[in-house]
Each structure stands twice: as C-alpha cells, then as structure tokens.
Symmetry: D2
C-alpha cells in the first residue's frame, strides 16, 4: 500500500501552447491520471469500483502553482499522495518533477462523493467494501515544502 505513487508521463506536443511550454490546464489533467494510478497502485480501479457503481467523485476544488516550464518530449514525474480521506470526501496533493528532479509544479485537489444526480454519498454506508479498502491506504498528510520520500 504505497503512500506516495509516482506516475511518469511524456509531455505531448498537443499539451503545449504557442509559448512552446505545457499549457497550464494540462497539469490538472495529469493530476487526474496520477489520481487513478494512485488508487490502482492501492488495489482500486476507479472505473470498476466507482464509475460502474454509480459513485461519482466530483472535484470541488483544484489549485496548482507553476515553478518551471516543461516542453514536448520532456519527462514529467507526478508524485501523488493523500492529504485526507473521510466518508464523504478525499483530498490529494501532487508534485511534478522534470527528468533532472527539479520541482516544476505542485498542486492539490479536493473531491466529494456524490451519486449520479449529484447527491452526497456516505461511502461507508453506500459501498462498505470500497470504504474499507480506502481506509487501509496510508495518508501521507500535509507536507512541508520538502520533497516527500
């Protein structure tokens, strides 16, 4: 059960803008990829455990601070961990590094569990098996500005 999951991506040409660098919304898309990998590395498929069960994990907040640009063909390493998990919400943190290990961006997202009409779900009641699996994943928690390890 890894507390911090590493996702390696290669920057795509189509993710970059006329300034020649990654267009900033792409980082939120990478966080989404990294989130699915975090869950999968901890034994949970988002598609079969959440989506197919009618549990929608909506984003209620997202933020990103951009430190160093990346360009097409660059390696981007996204480190992902959990800040918290409750019966109704969870929150993730992310750091993006380039191939030299320089911090390029860091961000956070917060999510709520809702049903297909948008009504809040108590996960412990709606999907107790999934809730037990989630509870077993270590929470890395709030970070100082040092790199998690």
């Amino acid at each position: 059960m890894p507390a911090v999951v590493r996702t390696e991506l290669e920057v795509r040409w189509g993710e970059c803008d006329p300034a020649g660098i990654v267009y900033h919304p792409a980082y939120l898309d990478w966080f989404s990829v990294a989130r699915m990998r975090f869950l999968r590395a901890n034994g949970i498929s988002y598609m079969t455990s959440f989506h197919d069960e009618g549990i929608v994990v909506v984003v209620v907040g997202a933020s990103c601070r951009y430190r160093k640009p990346l360009r097409a063909e660059d390696l981007a390493v996204v480190e992902t961990w959990w800040r918290y998990v409750t019966r109704t919400r969870f929150g993730f943190s992310y750091r993006v590094y380039n191939g030299d290990g320089d911090l390029c961006a860091e961000g956070e997202t917060e999510h709520a569990f809702v049903d297909e009409r948008g009504k809040p779900i108590n996960l412990a009641r709606r999907a107790p098996g999934l809730w037990e699996k989630l509870r077993a994943i270590p929470v890395h928690g709030e970070q100082s500005s040092e790199r998690p390890s």
Copy 2:
C-alpha cells in the same frame, strides 16, 4: 430549416500548439460544436433529443484536409451541411474559413446511431418523432469544390 449552418468561433490560445497554429485535432472538436449547432438551428437539441433518450451518435469516420493555418484570436467560421441521412446513420461536411473568407480546412464525419451498449438503432422505429424532424432537414449533399451558398 437551413441546409447550411454557420458557426463562428474565436480560436483559443489553448487550441494552438508550439508551432503557433491551431493543433489539428481541434478542427474535429469544432466540427462537433458545429454539428450540434446545425441540429439546433433545425430545431433539435442533441442533449435532450439524443443523449437524454439513450441514443448515442457515435463517430465511425472523420477526416480533415488542412489548407491554411489559423492562430489564437483568429475568427474561424465553420459551415456545416448534411451529405446524407438514413434511419441508421448520417454524414456531415464542414468547411472552415478565416475572417477574410479564405478556406482554411474542410472535413467530413460519419455517424451511426447506437444504444448505450453500442447496438445499432433504427431511428425511425426507436424515436419516430425525432426521425420525422431529421427527415425534414434539407440535405445539401455532396459538394463540388465551390463554396456552398
């Protein structure tokens, strides 16, 4: 019931790539926008008439020829018309012009009607009211290389 529908878009920064021009898949996205506008201009909301009724209009083929690049803040005018419509499929043609009226791109898409499991639908049987509406839309047909008017 317009046979040719004009959709005006302003090129977005995020639609452009490091070469400073519109990233080519964006044209297929514009065709999708233009298709919904074509249907709406003919009295049909895609979301309420197709999507909410469980009718999926899948793309089975798409092509685009690129003539002249566009860049951010440029005006893009997409002209859209129907090449054909049957009980199980329809096909669209598109031409993209810039603000000076120069032809920038032209493309085609083909679509099949399926249910949520991907099974083919006969629209005349499944949604006769919608089928009557579709039939009433004029088909502009195959074009010579001149501009439709």
Copy 3:
C-alpha cells in the same frame, strides 16, 4: 474601460467527461479565453501586444472552486476582473454562472511577464506604451463573496 468583462460560452460536448459534466480542467481553459476577452474589451490584443512582441505571460498559479456542474449545450457566463497589476505581474478573478445566473465556479490566476527564455520582464521598461494601457484599466480588486456588478 470595463472593470468586469462578461464572456459567454456554450459548453462543448468534448469538454465533458464520462460523468456527463464539464471536465474540471476546462474551467482553466475558459479563464484563458475570458482573460483574452478582458484585455480585448480594454483595447489590447494579447496576440499582437504580448505574443508577437516576445512577451510571455506565464501562469504562476491557478485555482478553482467548483459549485455546480455544467453539461454540454449549457450556457456558461464567465465574469472576469483584475485583482491587481504591477510592472511584473497581474492577477485575475473569475466567476462562472449558468444560464439561470447560479454561481457554478469561481477561480483565480496569477501571471508573470517573462521573455522567451523565461527571464522576468519589467513591463514599464520593456513596453512602456503597453504598460500605460494596462495601467488605465480599472482594478476591481479583491471581492467579497457577493457577485461583482
């Protein structure tokens, strides 16, 4: 010189995800569209005044809070205003409303002026004419949670 600029967008099918709602990074893309419109409504074309002059307006921070989902074909109205502008940076705020005037999302972005190698630029020195134009735009400032008007 409007302090708050309204941008109307129609939600695109391709901006939505398998949950049937707008994929959350799309809001940052809308903010980018709205930012260009804000500048243009105040007499400045981003492409000719910044991009073509080698002035890159990099995003250093972005955040969004999501209140109410939107889906394809919905109207999205983005209201945009300036929180601050200095010789080296500016910051924007955004609110997104649906067609009923409900607040759907609110966000902020911060930007730095750099040259094509990423070196900070003092805009008053590098482009004094542009700087005068920017200074003349009213700054709406920090908002309470009420709607700007």
Copy 4:
C-alpha cells in the same frame, strides 16, 4: 531501425466524453504521440531535430475510422508506420488496438515540411543530415487490411 513502432497508452478519464467512450479527436492526438515515438525509435527527436531547427511539420490531412470504442483505464496500443517519405512530405499510418488485440481504430496522416512562415522546405537541402537519417528508416508502405507484423 524499426518499420513499425508500438506505443502503449492508458486511456485518460479526460479523453472520454459523456457517452463514456474516448472522444474521437483524441485519436489524432494519440497519432501525434505515436509519430514522435516512431521518429525517436528511429533515432530522431522531433523537438531537437525539427522544432528547434525551425522546421515545422504541418499536418495537411488526417483521417480516422473508428471500429470499437475504448474507455478510461483501457490500454490502447498504437502501431505506427510510414507510408512514404519524400524531400517535402511524409505520410503515416496507424492502427489502434485494445488490450485484447482487437482493432479499435485505424488512421492516416500526411505532413509537409515548412519553415516558420509556412514556406515549403526541401529537407534534403535545408537539413541534409536529418534527411539522410529519415531516408534510412524503412518504409512499411501501404497496407492491406491485415495487421502489420
């Protein structure tokens, strides 16, 4: 010098649409990823050999036929090969398979070499070293409908 290059991708949540399947323009984006991998597998970095040298490889045509849908978390394998290469153009073919080896899509793109103003380039004259490298890559050519191997 591989004639056919395999690129493995995991379908992203953000690449899918409200029908729950990959939004069709995403395939053109995957072809772009696959093209860069094809060149790299043959010893050429697009960014350093083309982009940084002011050689723009513009897309002049693209097409895709969609056979079977993919959804988020699915494996997508893109096989890429060259149909032809000349001093002024090249053309690629692509096939996309799912994790079971089923053909999901097939497509083609055509590209022209131009300079930063859009003027055609003769690659043998402008970049003879790069041209020699390109010539050495085997051309797989037009395919029958069987799978290349």
